[in-house]
């Protein structure tokens, strides 16, 4: 089995608490880049970065246009822009229309990450009240990546994980507290 190189996480309503749990339990030795798209509705993700940094052993930063994707680092999609990854592993932003009513859209981030990392990508869909992320997760699976979905019954809002399961299915469907241990197992040799 190939070792994953990147982890893409999408969440919406209820996502902050869920992210704290997942990022908080990631192994500090992880070298994978972690990309996070969280619909927060606020103008900046500065505060979100701070809150998550307190929970996470890995450094948490806002993904900046043209900057490289860093290993062992959590990159948050900026608010108001779609986050994409280029083949040369640099971030690109776009201000194209909303997708699934969202910008940043999880679908957009998942699809572009899938094209870069193929089977070396883990896609994770957490709690949320919409269908964003479902078709992106499908794309991740089509290109050989691993799909993890939070059990809808365990999610604060089940709509998003349920939509992901319906559209894409999953390799693992687990409770929130089991997600980080699973990622650690998949990522650490």
């Amino acid at each position: 089995m190939t070792t994953p190189q990147a982890i893409a996480i999408g969440c919406s309503a209820g996502g902050l608490d869920a992210l704290k749990v997942v990022l908080g339990a990631l192994d500090p030795r992880l070298t994978q880049a972690v990309l996070v798209c969280c619909h927060s509705g606020s103008d900046t993700v500065e505060l979100l970065c701070e809150v998550l940094q307190r929970a996470s052993a890995l450094p948490v930063t806002e993904a900046a246009e043209r900057h490289p994707v860093l290993s062992g680092t959590v990159h948050l999609a900026p608010s108001g822009y779609h986050l994409l990854v280029e083949k040369d592993r640099h971030f690109a932003l776009s201000i194209d229309p909303r997708v699934q009513y969202a910008r940043p859209s999880i679908d957009v981030m998942f699809c572009s990450a899938a094209e870069v990392w193929h089977e070396k990508l883990i896609g994770v869909v957490l709690t949320g009240g919409n269908a964003d992320g479902a078709s992106g997760l499908q794309r991740i699976r089509e290109l050989g990546g691993i799909a993890i979905v939070q059990s809808p019954s365990n999610a604060e809002i089940s709509t998003m994980p349920q939509a992901a399961l319906d559209t894409a299915g999953a390799d693992h469907c687990v409770d929130l507290s089991d997600i980080a241990p699973l990622i650690n197992r998949l990522c650490l040799p």
């Binding site: 246009e65 043209r66 822009y81 280029e86 690109a92 194209d96 572009s112 794309r139």
Partner: protein, 283 residues
């Protein structure tokens, strides 16, 4: 779809780009690949061709589709007073400095549907500078320019735009500048009296004015590094010494060598100032 199919897409996007270039002279080869591909695939859906190759055939044989394709590839979209703090910065920090010029030239590159042009005109009007200002509003897309000239927008935006305007330090009510009818609002056409709309392609066209302020927001994010650099040198050659450049709030000039000729004026608001003399063009 498998990895092979993805590679096929990439080949087709490249061929499509070549077709656009050779058939119509529009060069997208230096656009950032990830979002360009997304837009090409969206065009496939909009124009209901089965594949990207199907799009190529239509690029070649249906020239009347060109404006639609350009629109699809560039997705002109904007807001009034997008990023109010930037407009507040212009109002409070930049306009007072521009006020010392007897005649002010502003180049807004990539004006899309014109919301920023009207926002700017309102700022200038309220600062008492509009009478001696000339705004050149340019875009690649003629369709976008046409809409910008009309200045008609969906009224559902009005609330958000009013909030933006207030947050940008507006001294009136935004409603003073438009008339609403049905579900549309039309910007006061007096705001256009010193605006020249013109098609200009940042990839292939040159400098055409001496500007005191250049606004180019959320345009270069779609360009790869060398093209961003090229466009920045256009702006450098267009600006007067001490002139201002505004880019989008999340744009980074960190990888552009030309950026060294600009000094941050307000780093957070992405407002820069031309410090060095423009280099002499090599003969």
């Amino acid at each position: 779809m498998t990895v092979d199919a993805q590679e096929l897409d990439n080949i087709e996007v490249e061929l499509f780009t070549q077709a656009m270039q050779r058939r119509h002279g529009y060069d997208f080869s230096q656009y950032a690949p990830a979002s360009l591909k997304r837009r090409v695939l969206q065009l496939v859906e909009q124009l209901e061709t089965r594949t990207i190759s199907g799009l190529i055939e239509r690029v070649m044989h249906e020239p009347q589709l060109l404006p639609r394709m350009l629109d699809g590839l560039t997705v002109p979209a904007s807001d009034m007073f997008r990023d109010p703090s930037m407009f507040r910065g212009l109002r409070e920090q930049v306009l007072p400095l521009l006020a010392s010029y007897p005649q002010i030239n502003i180049w807004q590159a990539g004006c899309a549907h014109g919301q920023e042009v009207y926002s700017l005109a309102i700022l200038l009007e309220e600062a008492g500078l509009y009478e001696r200002t000339q705004i050149f509003a340019t875009d690649l897309s003629e369709r976008a320019l046409h809409q910008a000239q009309e200045g008609i927008y969906p009224a559902r935006e009005a609330q958000q735009w009013s909030r933006n305007y207030q947050a940008a330090g507006g001294t009136h009510s935004l409603a003073d500048y438009y008339s609403a009818r049905y579900n549309l609002l039309k910007l006061d056409q007096r705001l256009r009296r010193n605006v020249t709309f013109a098609q200009h392609n940042l990839v292939s066209d040159g400098v055409f004015c001496e500007a005191h302020l250049v606004l180019c927001r959320n345009v270069m994010i779609y360009f790869s590094n060398p093209l961003q650099d090229h466009v920045l040198s256009l702006f450098r050659n267009s600006l007067v010494r001490g002139g201002f450049l505004c880019v989008g709030m999340r744009e980074s000039l960190d990888y552009a060598t030309t950026a060294a000729t600009f000094t941050p004026f307000d780093e957070r608001l992405r407002i820069y100032r031309l410090t060095h003399q423009p280099e002499r063009q090599q003969a």
